[in-house]
């Protein structure tokens, strides 16, 4: 028996996720196999996000402004993967944001790398601005604000929809 019957869900996102994740595969019917694979997938997601963050940080400090578009793509991919995981959890009624504790031993290195990446991006943009004026910097700032607004809106919409689905 599977954890959730994703194929019959009324939520299109859950049905799409089931297809992408091949969640109807008989492999998932064996409960311990499923649990172990879920843990392995969680580890793999963390490894992927860490590798992308480290690669982005190294690229922006080594190549400077030239790397910014590729770094943005790497950050975007890590962000999308993380968001899909969070949205899927919400759609199944699991509030991942209500984690009972925050491990600062885990968060410390992550915040360090994110800070280093942000500093590298600012450095690259400032160097670029001295050549190309401030249009790029204002473009990046606008992009960050628009992305943050989009993510906030999407998250509110998703949680409202999920709440409506679970009540319906």
């Amino acid at each position: 028996m599977s954890t959730v019957d994703t194929s019959d869900s009324h939520n299109w996102f859950v049905r799409a996720a089931a297809v992408i994740g091949d969640l109807s595969n008989p492999f998932y019917a064996e409960e311990r196999q499923r649990d172990v694979w879920n843990e392995a997938s969680a580890v793999a997601l963390q490894v992927l996000i860490w590798l992308q963050l480290l690669a982005a940080t190294a690229a922006v400090w080594i190549a400077g402004a030239t790397a910014v578009p590729y770094v943005s793509a790497l950050i975007g991919m890590a962000g999308v993967a993380g968001w899909v995981a969070v949205l899927y959890s919400w759609s199944q009624g699991v509030a991942v944001q209500k984690c009972p504790r925050t491990s600062w031993r885990r968060m410390g290195p992550l915040l360090g790398v994110v800070g280093l990446l942000a500093a590298g991006l600012v450095r690259a943009e400032l160097a670029h601005a001295s050549v190309d004026g401030w249009s790029t910097v204002s473009g990046v700032a606008t992009g960050i604000v628009v992305t943050a607004a989009l993510l906030t809106g999407l998250s509110r919409y998703a949680r409202r929809r999920i709440g409506a689905d679970s009540e319906g």
Partner: protein
Amino acid sequence: MRRARLMAELTQAELAAGTGVTRQTIVAVEAGDYAPSVYLALAIADRLSSTVEELFGGVGETIAADAREGM
């Protein structure tokens, strides 16, 4: 659970086949490394002609005690 399985004269592989899981899962449950779902616990109890309380009662009390301490 191991004692109940031996009393029923079943191998781990036979119990696994009878409950629709892999032998590794039975090994993990017997070693206390894996807490089975209610469905699997019921299937194991049925196959061993026992009850979930008899097989996993102690585990349930430990989990409940841990949960109370965590609150």
